[in-house]
């Protein structure tokens, strides 16, 4: 299939903005074949470029939240498993969760040789399939731009729940206040009203991400400026239980 064909098919697979909340249907529709799925989640289809961007993501994780060989890691919105091939080599086990079963089908095809990988289809927004206090690192990359704000916060809350005390969280998005972020914002703004697709990128502000992490209960929330023009919010689930003085480690919501 030519690249032009793949682009045409992808554009034909997109949904309208008003359907943005119907994540499962929207992303299953954009995963009708591997090339369409790769374009939808990564913007390109060749394995070499996918691997290059995966290395970049692993480097960002290593630099911001660290990666331990004993880590149980969960990626929220793993799509076709772009990052998993690289990251699974550096941890004990990698879990890939996505609301689109069709995307996970492509991921399973790409990652079948990896022994320490588990793919989990999410039934809805949230991580209800995972137990409390069980994982070391939860990250979510190049996903928040496709979510409504309430759903972004829902995943932050759920990450807090499934992380063990001391576990780390990472969420990134395109920021509004950088040159790259502003270009994404204005490009989206130029779309004619009637043609805005459901998956259209929406930026975050630093304060938005910082607030999500703080309200969810994370300690040491930080905002990192990344080399790719994104910002990342990171935090740690407190080890100490809630105290009677209000300086609690429990979620504020």
């Amino acid at each position: 299939m030519s690249s032009a064909d793949a682009h045409a098919r992808w554009e034909g697979s997109t949904s309208k903005l008003g359907e943005r909340s119907e994540y499962k249907r929207i992303w299953n529709r954009q995963a009708q074949d591997y090339d369409t799925a790769a374009l939808a989640v990564a913007g390109h289809t060749d394995e070499a470029t996918l691997d290059l961007t995966a290395r970049g993501t692993v480097d960002m994780l290593r630099a911001t939240v660290g990666i331990e060989p004993t880590d149980l890691i969960l990626e929220i919105g793993c799509g076709i498993g772009r990052v998993a091939g690289r990251l699974s080599q550096e941890c004990l086990h990698w879990f890939g969760a996505d609301i689109s079963g069709a995307m996970l089908g492509h991921a399973a095809g790409r990652l079948k040789a990896r022994p320490n990988i588990t793919l989990v289809e999410l039934s809805t927004v949230g991580l209800g399939e995972f137990p409390d206090d069980s994982l070391d690192l939860v990250y979510c990359t190049v996903v928040f731009m496709h979510l409504l704000e309430w759903d972004r916060y829902r995943y932050v809350q759920e990450a807090y729940r499934v992380l063990r005390p001391g576990g780390r969280a990472y969420f990134d998005n395109v920021p509004l206040d950088t040159e790259h972020g502003w270009s994404v914002f204005t490009a989206s703004a130029r779309y004619p009203f009637a043609r805005r697709p459901a998956h259209i990128s929406m930026t975050s502000t630093r304060e938005e991400l910082r607030t999500y992490l703080a309200k969810a209960g994370f300690d040491a929330a930080r905002i990192h400026d990344l080399a790719n023009g994104f910002i990342a919010a990171t935090g740690t689930k407190p080890v100490a239980p809630a105290g009677p003085d209000g300086s609690s480690a429990e979620p504020a919501v």
Binding site: E68, T70, E129, S134
Partner: protein, 250 residues
Amino acid sequence: MNPAEELAEVKRREAEFRLKTVQEFLAFGARDREQRRQIDALNDELGERNSYIHRLHGEREDFVRREQAAFADVEAFTHLLATAEAEAAAARAELARLRAPRGWRRWFASKSAAARDPAALPAGDGPAPAASFVAVPAGDFIYYLHTPPFRLYRAASFTLRGWALPRDARPVTGVRVRIGGREFIGETGLEEPGVLAQHGPQPANPRPGFSVTFATPPGRHHLSLEAQLDHRDWLAVLTTPIWCQVPPSP
């Protein structure tokens, strides 16, 4: 093993334990979701079957209504036919009287006989010769006959099955058919669950079904289906002329 290596080993074993826990949780969740999916599918199937059964019940009730309407039509047409035949017989008799000399004497004699026994039907081509037939009063019943009597009888006997409910709610304590001067006692108290479902509980007649077998000798007869109420009065449920042919030779 130095303390750092020991700590790393503990961390590894703890992580492996958590991994096992997570995987068991995921497997349990997957099984749970599959069971829920199967339960949902079975519930959907059950709902569809219930809808189908409900539709069949509706169709059955519709068929029963149409069958009863057809039954009533046949009954009405049979009576119209009997009336028309009686009128034709009377016209033929009148014609014969006018053609025959002194015909008026015989006409007068037959009129006198009819006046003495109103239940007696005209002879000859008339519906039924039944000199011994004494009519009982007609009762007010809701009834239905599973084996309608409006037919040409070709066998030596016939079994009339059906149900009857007196509108005054008295108990039916007997049922009989009178035909050709003979009386045939039937069986009452037969189950009719569909009737109770349609008309509600019947304390006086919880089993309103009946069955009567009667002989059908060749010729024309007057059939009277009668019910006894509360061990006292016999009332006619239905009276109709019938036609019986000679049974075919074996």
